[in-house]
């Protein structure tokens, strides 16, 4: 029984320059309690896919269900069971950490006392306990990222979507976050779908990798499977495997210039 299942999920943006086929057709099945890593070069369509799965963006093709709720017919059901941490976050810089965490709990309809308790608990889990009364705008980049993540965990979602959760975190915080994700899964059976450009992270954290390129799934399997299948040996590096699959490097944004952000985008409209 799959907790997430998509068939031909697609999204084309209409822009003044013409249509942009950001996601062309994603077929994906995720089992309950799985941690799935969504990888792919810049502009591959990872964020767009997550925004569809969290009901922020209506698909222009295909269908999907999350925890048995259809994206289009029952968006409210999808929202109740899922948590989402966006790539660029989403906290109000003028409000305090406590205020944002409590309000977030209330938005998920927790009673007030419970929302307050949950805020303290999450702050402790994510190393924000001393910062509760600080304005979100006065946090460091990594602290703010941890706040974003806490916001997504408020209501103990059955399905958690994390878009590049560890970008900007120091190595210690990143290891802590991996630990937290594993613990949330172990304790609550939470299903996690996360995107990342850090291949060590994908290797260490994900049970299964789904590699997306130009809006379609180009490979799907355990890290070991993929290395065996695409790089010829289970001991190959994920970097080599990734290059073998996508033909261009997965690298932090700044070093991805040649085949990076422009590559897939530029080719999308002509092919559409």
């Amino acid at each position: 029984m799959a907790i997430i299942s998509t068939v031909g999920l697609a999204r084309t943006f209409t822009t003044p320059q013409g249509p942009v086929a950001a996601v062309r057709g994603i077929d994906l099945t995720v089992r309950p309690g799985e941690i799935v890593g969504l990888l792919g070069p810049n502009g591959a369509g990872k964020t767009t896919t997550l925004r569809m799965l969290t009901t922020l963006l209506p698909p222009t093709g295909g269908a999907a269900t999350v925890a048995g709720c259809d994206l289009v017919r029952d968006p409210a059901g999808v929202r109740r069971v899922s948590g989402y941490v966006a790539q660029s976050g989403g906290v109000d810089p003028n409000l305090t950490v406590r205020e944002e965490l409590v309000t977030q709990g209330r938005l998920y309809r927790l009673p007030r006392a419970e929302a307050v308790a949950r805020a303290a608990e999450l702050a402790a889990d994510l190393g924000l306990a001393d910062l509760l009364d600080r304005k979100a705008g006065a946090l460091s980049g990594g602290q703010r990222r941890r706040l974003d993540i806490a916001m997504g965990l408020t209501h103990r979602p059955a399905v958690l979507f994390l878009d590049e959760p560890t970008t900007g975190l120091d190595p210690g915080s990143r290891a802590d976050l991996w630990e937290l994700v594993r613990r949330v899964r172990a304790e609550h059976g939470t299903t996690v779908v996360l995107t990342t450009h850090y291949l060590d992270e994908a290797d260490a954290l994900a049970d299964r990798l789904v590699i997306v390129d130009r809006g379609v799934v180009v490979a799907d399997g355990t890290p070991r499977d993929l290395k065996q299948r695409h790089a010829g040996s289970p001991d190959a590096t994920l970097q080599d495997t990734f290059l073998a699959i996508t033909g261009h490097g997965i690298a932090p944004d700044e070093s991805a210039e040649p085949g990076g952000p422009l590559g897939p985008t530029a080719s999308a409209p002509t092919a559409a």
Binding site: R51, L57, P75, V91
Partner: protein, 256 residues
């Protein structure tokens, strides 16, 4: 089922209202700044009118203050959408939209906060006007405040809807300016349209605010059973129904 949905809507609206009300309370300066313009008109423009024949019932304060009240609502509420543009850029809006919170509450909570702020500002303005020499029936003033609240709800809804639709502040600001300036001039906010030549008077009847201004002026001189009052109420009610419907549509449509 329906009552559960309704109570969820009410508690979500209260939650959103209090979030933004707290924000407003933190920026008291902004709240006072909002009444600066009408206050300046009251102080430096009002005295010019006291001896002029304005061609309408009541003294000059009974003509000017209703105009200033609606000016306050017109300018304040029309720009309310800026806050949504900022939240769109910071990701706050999307973060709220992935939660089960009622879409309608995201609109109503904000709009009600705006209405509360403007009623507060309007009360200050009326108090200042009393000091300057305004004399008007209490019932008339209360009716005037109700109209300001109605206008605020309508314009703020439209402003939020527009802010969700456009992508940049550069598109939003000029659009609002282009709509509010003619609306202000053509509705006779500053001076009654009874002074206008025929063509201008006709043109001004095409602007919904005209009816609201006339109604509030009628209320300030105690003409509660007049045609102005009736038309103003009808136009105000119709405007708010249309505006809130548009706002609701935009806020509830996926991907907005």
């Amino acid at each position: 089922m329906a009552t559960a949905a309704l109570s969820a809507l009410c508690s979500d609206t209260a939650l959103i209202f209090s979030r933004y009300a707290r924000q407003t309370l933190r920026s008291r300066f902004q709240m006072l700044f909002g009444i600066l313009m009408p206050l300046l008109y009251l102080l430096f423009f009002g005295p010019l009118l006291t001896d002029l024949p304005l061609g309408s019932k009541g003294d000059s304060w009974q003509v000017l203050v209703p105009g200033l009240l609606l000016q306050l609502g017109l300018f304040g509420a029309s720009f309310a959408g800026f806050a949504v543009l900022i939240e769109k850029q910071s990701g706050v809006l999307e973060r709220m939209r992935v939660t089960p919170v009622s879409r309608l509450a995201l609109l109503l909570g904000r709009v009600l906060r705006d209405a509360a702020v403007f009623v507060f500002q309007a009360v200050l303005l009326v108090l200042a006007a009393l000091v300057m020499g305004l004399r008007a029936p209490v019932g008339g003033v209360l009716i005037g405040l109700a109209f300001v609240a109605l206008l605020t709800v309508s314009l703020a809804s439209l402003s939020y809807a527009l802010a969700l639709k456009v992508n940049t502040p550069q598109e939003f600001g000029p659009t609002i300016n282009a709509l509010t300036m003619p609306a202000m001039l053509l509705s006779g906010l500053m001076l009654p349209m009874t002074l206008a030549p025929g063509w201008l008077d006709v043109l001004s009847h095409l602007i919904p605010f005209r009816y609201l201004v006339d109604a509030v002026r009628a209320a300030f001189v105690g003409d509660f059973a007049s045609a102005h009052m009736l038309y103003g109420t009808l136009v105000g009610a119709a405007l708010s129904v249309v505006a809130v419907t548009i706002g609701t549509r935009v806020f509830t449509s996926a991907g907005a």
